[in-house]
């Protein structure tokens, strides 16, 4: 029996010693099929949160098609979600998976190596920390957290247990975003002066009267640590993003993507801004109680500023995108614009545009700062599970990026400029703001 060094996590030495001692006839199933990993090299995964994103994007889009993964279990507090996810697993693999309502039961299984968490934001910290304490590696959707304090606790748990923890900020596994940040980090646009992120806003939502939760949903469990609220359909299942008890609105939903790229370009993955102020428009009649529109300004030590907008660019972006020949001219609504002393770079999921198209041909030297290369966020996670290296969006990175977003929301709610100490992770001289670094949890939950 052969194995690549570091590729088999589960007691390989024990098994190989036993195999050597055993008779020489070894079952064929032990060996991998051509082009596929051996069954013992597969990462056994449990999926926690199998609503739309968990099921459509992760389970069906990434986990089930991946030969390096064996799905063992699914978990959701909505019976329809978990049963449908289990059906998907059986349909695609022919093998049944265990079905759980309580993530703790899934995590307590010793045969599960890793979990993917795609629950609403207010559940990320509790589920992730429990999983890490159970010895599982974790992939957790962005935004990593509901509060700054939760992020630090998640980092602490990851370090305590040696967890390979990937935050789902998958833009970092995209060549275009990496190139943009490498251009910035290597001063190809001169000294970086400002970053603008465009992330769109959210509408007011529609009121629905409180009603009895549907029989398939354990509403009390769905609420978990959040304050009690009566059920209405538009409060959960995707719409949770727009209620501050469960999420941080567009600021965290898309801010976790583009402010994360801003942090990458600035080179602030282990720190953050030192000042934040913002204007948020909150709908007069609700029900969405997050900022509908906003402009938030951050200052980093060293003088670089970050401006996070819900509105589109107030000017036309003019330039020739990477891979194209014709100039484009339009107002952008979603993306990251880095402006330096000698030029600019704009990057989004659909394009990279620079002030000088020659920047696309930049040949980086060995003296240049090269950023972490990942071609696929889930593959990177699996690679790191094997190698025990930190993945491209390690938990600290996810925490710092989410913190930028939380700082923005806090500044908007308090309507005043705030000074932030990124080393102590506290506001300077503002007790009230410091209360908002964390949130109490509804009993019996705690970090």
């Amino acid at each position: 029996m052969s194995a690549k060094p570091g590729s088999n996590r589960r007691e390989f030495l024990k098994k190989s010693a036993a195999a050597l001692a055993a008779p020489t006839i070894v079952p064929a199933t032990v060996f991998a099929k051509p082009g596929e990993p051996a069954p013992s090299d597969r990462v056994v995964v449990g999926s926690i949160g199998t609503g739309d994103l968990g099921r459509r994007h992760h389970l069906n889009g990434k986990l089930l098609p991946n030969k390096r993964i064996r799905m063992a279990a699914v978990c959701d507090v909505d019976r329809n979600h978990r049963d449908q996810a289990a059906t998907d697993c059986f349909t695609k693999t022919g093998k049944p998976v265990a079905i759980y309502k309580d993530f703790r039961d899934l995590c307590d299984r010793p045969d599960i190596d890793a979990v993917l968490i795609a629950t609403p934001d207010h559940w990320h910290a509790l589920a992730a920390i429990y999983a890490m304490e159970a010895g599982k590696d974790v992939y957790c959707e962005k935004p990593l957290t509901l509060t700054i304090h939760q992020g630090r606790e998640m980092v602490n748990a990851a370090r305590r247990y040696g967890t390979v923890f990937q935050t789902g900020s998958q833009q970092r596994s995209n060549d275009r975003f990496r190139l943009a940040c490498e251009l910035v980090r290597n001063k190809k646009i001169g000294q970086l002066q400002r970053v603008d992120t465009y992330i769109n806003g959210v509408d007011a939502g529609v009121w629905e009267p409180p009603t009895t939760p549907p029989p398939e949903l354990d509403w009390n469990f769905w609420l978990g640590p959040a304050p009690y609220a009566d059920y209405s359909p538009n409060r959960c299942h995707y719409q949770f993003r727009w209620y501050s008890d469960y999420s941080g609105g567009k600021m965290t939903d898309w801010g976790a993507h583009h402010n994360d790229i801003a942090q990458w370009g600035i080179g602030a993955d282990d720190t953050g801004p030192v000042k934040v102020s913002g204007k948020g428009m909150y709908y007069k009649d609700g029900p969405h109680d997050v900022a509908g529109e906003f402009d938030v300004d951050y200052t980093y030590a060293g003088g670089v500023t970050l401006h996070c907008h819900s509105s589109p660019m107030d000017h036309d972006l003019e330039g020739i995108p990477l891979g194209k020949k014709e100039k484009i001219k339009k107002q952008e609504t979603n993306g990251v614009l880095f402006t330096g002393s000698d030029g600019w770079v704009f990057v989004s999921r659909s394009m990279l545009v620079a002030s000088d198209p020659k920047l696309y041909d930049t040949q980086f030297s060995s003296d240049d700062t090269r950023l972490y290369v990942s071609q696929d966020h889930h593959e990177n996670w699996l690679d790191c599970i094997a190698s025990r290296q930190r993945p491209i969006c390690d938990v600290e990175i996810g925490h710092r990026s989410a913190t930028v977003c939380h700082l923005g929301n806090i500044a908007m709610q308090l309507r005043r400029e705030l000074a932030w100490d990124p080393q102590k992770e506290q506001f300077v001289d503002d007790d009230q703001a410091n209360l908002m670094v964390s949130k109490p949890m509804r009993a019996p939950w705690h970090l």
Partner: protein, 251 residues
């Protein structure tokens, strides 16, 4: 100047939109009142809000007996408690403590005290942990004590760690792990001994955290001792592995 009493009544409304609007107004007002240098404003607003929690009115029952009941309904008092946490200090703790006697309001009153950092809030939570009705409520108060300092905290948690209720015992053990006090390990060990496999697992996780806190507080020897026991003993592999890694790091 906003009429806090009217806003509080609006928080208790059956009209969702009116409640929402009152919440938004409360967020604005408490943010302004709680800004640095606005101590008088903060204190005045907090006092008015506390007053909303405690104001009573006479009510006659169907036998003609008159008793005093809160003027503001339970929903209103829950939400006032929530926003009081943004501006309250020790002067408002008594009102929140009183609210904790109402089953329909106590969770939010406890939540508010959990957010307040003054000693009076700590003492109120300690009292709720010891004498509150219902395990879940007591567990909430115990959770809120984790990481707080003061003699009432440790004394309360140690007492709760001996509770007949397994959930209360476990919550107390987990809260004691947040305090860098070497003697807490013996309490945790006792909680583990009194429970089954799941209790043992939860306490092992708590002991790992305790060890980490001890080392961080400069009590390396005490931390190392716990790590060694976890590394050597019959604990689940995740705790053993973490303890072994920590031992290498502590040296």
């Amino acid at each position: 100047m906003a009429n806090i009493n009217e806003l509080a009544k609006q928080l208790g409304s059956d009209d969702q939109i009116k409640v929402y609007q009152a919440k938004q107004e409360m967020v604005l007002l408490t943010a302004a009142a709680g800004a640095p240098g606005k101590d008088r404003q903060r204190s005045d607003m907090a006092a008015e809000m506390a007053n909303c929690l405690t104001t009573e009115m006479p009510q006659k029952d169907n036998k003609g007996k008159v008793s005093k009941v809160p003027e503001l309904n339970a929903r209103g008092r829950s939400l006032v408690s929530r926003y009081l946490a943004n501006v309250g200090d020790q002067s408002e703790v008594a009102a929140l403590e009183r609210a904790m006697h109402d089953f329909d309001v106590r969770e939010m009153a406890r939540w508010a005290l959990a957010r307040m950092t003054c000693q009076a809030a700590t003492d109120a939570l300690a009292k709720a942990a010891k004498t509150g009705i219902g395990d879940e409520f007591r567990v909430g108060a115990i959770n809120a004590l984790a990481g707080r300092s003061g003699s009432s905290v440790r004394e309360t948690l140690v007492a709760c760690a001996a509770s007949p209720s397994p959930e209360v015992r476990l919550a107390a053990a987990e809260a004691l792990a947040c305090d860098a006090e070497a003697a807490n390990d013996a309490v945790l060990a006792k909680v583990a001994a009194g429970g089954g496999k799941r209790t043992g697992m939860r306490v092992a996780k708590a002991r790992l955290r305790l060890a980490e806190n001890l080392v961080a507080a400069g009590q390396k020897q005490a931390g190392r001792q716990i790590y060694q026991q976890l590394a050597d003993g019959k604990y689940d592999p995740a705790q053993q592995k973490a303890a072994q890694a920590a031992l290498k790091h502590v040296g």
